[in-house]
């Protein structure tokens, strides 16, 4: 065996080792961290993210489930950073508990895009935030109810889980806007964002308030539950407004069981497009708020796909 032959073999071996490494370097990997993968909103987001991934074969999406636990999510995102993914797109389980991740990402030079829920760090510590304003959603719902029932009447509010930021904000926006209309009375019940609890609360609510003119629920599941009770008790003409505008809300509106639903964007594919822009070195808006329009019979086709 000559020296030349040996050199050839060595070069071949080197090329074989180097080839996969080069291919991996070309591929973009985006880590998507959801606080949980069981809530319909999160499930919908992941589905849209996967659809986006199918259209972008050059990008690898890795989805990390926080399992409703801040420590689990923190560990999951830390693993992403250790593996040096190209970018992290995250919705924090808790705005304070996940704050350390911003520093870790910054040191590893990995752009961090926050979506849906805020992270409790200075704006310089992440690449961009994309979200919607739950308080504004509450206002949108209130204005819609006023438009439908006028200046007077009783409105039942079915609240989500007490203390959750969405519940607090949606309630605040709705009640703030309604306070401008002294003829409106709001009675509140808690449905924990779940169907069975909403149905039970609504049964009690309409027993005590048969003169109800509108129902406003903090999500579509509860609004559908309310609609079922109204139907069973033959209370016609009550305006029912839900929130989120995912599959359930869209079906509710198209079947006329819901009068309307305030659309809450899943932030997909917008957050992924944002991540791609950041990776391409483009300047992006630090904070983006997506609109939360009202889905009604008329606007159904625009927002429900």
């Amino acid at each position: 065996m000559t020296c030349k032959q040996m050199l050839h073999i060595a070069m071949l071996a080197g090329a074989m080792l180097a080839a996969p490494a080069a291919a991996a370097a070309q591929e973009v990997e985006i880590g998507v961290a959801q606080p949980n993968l069981e809530h319909p909103y999160r499930v919908g987001g992941v589905e849209r993210a996967k659809a986006w991934g199918a259209e972008h074969p050059d990008v690898k999406l890795t989805i990390v489930d926080g399992r409703r636990d801040s420590a689990t999510q923190l560990a999951g995102v830390e693993d992403l950073i250790t593996r040096h993914v190209s970018a992290v797109v995250m919705s924090p389980n808790d705005s304070k508990a996940l704050a350390p991740i911003a520093d870790a990402a910054k040191r590893a030079n990995i752009p961090l895009i926050i979506f849906d829920r805020k992270l409790d760090v200075p704006e310089t510590d992440f690449a961009a935030f994309i979200g919607s304003d739950n308080v504004e959603m509450g206002r949108v719902a209130a204005r819609f109810v006023i438009e439908k029932i006028g200046q007077e009447g009783k409105v039942i509010q079915l609240e989500g889980t007490p203390g959750a930021s969405a519940t607090v904000d949606r309630k605040q926006g709705f009640e703030e806007e309604m306070a401008k209309h002294p003829g409106i009375t709001i009675v509140s019940y808690v449905g924990h964002y779940r169907l069975q609890e909403a149905v039970a609360a609504m049964e009690d609510a309409v027993t005590a308030h048969r003169d109800v003119k509108a129902v406003f629920a903090h999500n579509d599941t509860m609004a559908m539950g309310a609609a079922q009770v109204l139907e069973e008790q033959r209370l016609d003409g009550v305006v029912t407004v839900g929130m989120d505008g995912a599959k359930e809300g869209c079906e509710g509106v198209s079947s006329s069981r819901l009068t309307g639903s305030v659309y809450y964007p899943t932030m997909f594919p917008e957050s992924l497009d944002l991540a791609m822009k950041v990776l391409a070195g483009e300047t992006v808006e630090k904070v983006t708020f997506l609109d939360t329009p009202m889905i009604t019979k008329e606007t159904h086709d625009t927002y429900c796909k």
């Binding site: 993968l37 499930v43 019940y189 169907l195 069975q196 149905v199 009690d204 005590a208 079922q228």
Partner: protein, 335 residues
């Protein structure tokens, strides 16, 4: 050995001629019933909507699912155990029901769902008897695993179930006269469970196993198979609650039935069944269930702030249990 189900026999009657003491004793011995009556009287004064046929049937229907789980829990707690998996097994049952209904039809779906419940319960019993896992831990594991399985099977979504109208009528939305069908179904189960516990050999065995497992073993009772049977029964009843959920709401919800097991345990304990087992009453579990159900209802009817409601419910449950446990302690001391 006193008659296991009849709690009152544990306290001897006071001396004759002391009427106030007699009345007080009667009230104390039936503290859950007294509490329920007081709650009904007070609520009737507070809200004109409370004591109406529609409202009472609403409340009964709202609590049928927790009621079925509470029946299973009464058996489990009497046998000296505990089961935390009721709500999760319910959720798993609704999800599996929604998935199989279009394939096997509603009748086949009922069979499958009941078998799933029985399997979950049997696994609990097997873990406890063969695996020597403490009931709290075994059923905590089942609670987590069953809910996880429900989430896996449903991919986290709420599944719309394609159900036969007859099923929806019988298990959810139908009425027989003024009585909602789920209430009727649950009432039948309550009566059968009460009769079995009090008047059958099996029911007596369950009490004996809880009261004195070693004694039960020495008198030839298959203690471990009795224990497996009560957990299986609990699983079947939780799955049946899942059928009522499907019938009433028409969907399989992986997050459904959250904390139903705790409401069920509260109902059993307010009904005076002690955690140590040995004695207990299905009828008093029903009374406990109604104490909780009517408390929720009256607070809702009065439109009490939702946050204040949670506080009030917590206080009422603890006070109710405190009274029934004090009564129990007193009767044990006198024995």
């Amino acid at each position: 050995m006193s008659d296991g189900t009849n709690l009152s026999e544990r306290t001897p009657m006071p001396a004759k001629g002391n009427l106030t003491a007699a009345a007080k004793d009667l009230m104390l011995r039936n503290i859950a019933v007294t509490g329920l009556l007081a709650l009904i009287v007070i609520s009737t004064f507070l809200s004109p909507y409370f004591l109406t046929v529609d409202n009472i049937f609403n409340v009964l229907r709202q609590w049928t699912m927790v009621g079925l789980i509470a029946i299973g829990l009464t058996y489990v707690i009497i046998s000296g155990g505990i089961d935390l998996s009721g709500g999760a097994v319910l959720a798993l049952a609704t999800v599996i029901g929604a998935l199989v209904a279009p394939v096997v039809g509603s009748a086949g779906m009922i069979v499958i769902v009941i078998l799933v419940g029985a399997a979950c319960g049997y696994i609990n019993g097997a873990l406890i008897t063969w695996g020597k896992v403490p009931p709290f831990v075994a059923t905590l594991g089942m609670m987590t695993a069953a809910r996880g399985l429900a989430l896996i099977l449903s991919e986290g979504r709420t599944l719309t179930a394609d159900l036969a109208p007859e099923f929806v009528f019988a298990f959810g939305r139908g009425y027989l006269g003024p009585i909602p069908m789920p209430v009727l179904v649950t009432a039948v189960v309550f009566i059968v469970a009460a009769v079995v516990l009090k008047y059958t050999v099996y029911g007596r065995h369950v009490c004996l196993v809880g009261d004195n497992p070693i004694g039960a073993h020495r008198s030839g009772i298959q203690v471990e198979s009795v224990i497996r049977s009560v957990y299986t029964l609990h699983g079947v009843l939780a799955a049946m609650a899942g059928l009522l959920f499907l019938g009433r709401l028409g969907v399989g919800e992986p997050t459904g039935g959250m904390l139903f097991e705790l409401s069920g345990i509260a109902a059993v304990v307010i009904g005076g069944t002690p955690f140590v087992g040995g004695v207990g009453s299905i009828l008093l579990t029903f009374v406990g269930l109604m104490v909780i159900g009517l408390t929720y209802n009256i607070l809702n009817l009065l439109s009490v702030s939702p946050y204040a409601q949670d506080f009030a419910r917590g206080v009422i449950i603890v006070v109710a249990v405190m009274f029934s446990i004090r009564r129990e302690a007193k009767s044990r001391a006198r024995r």
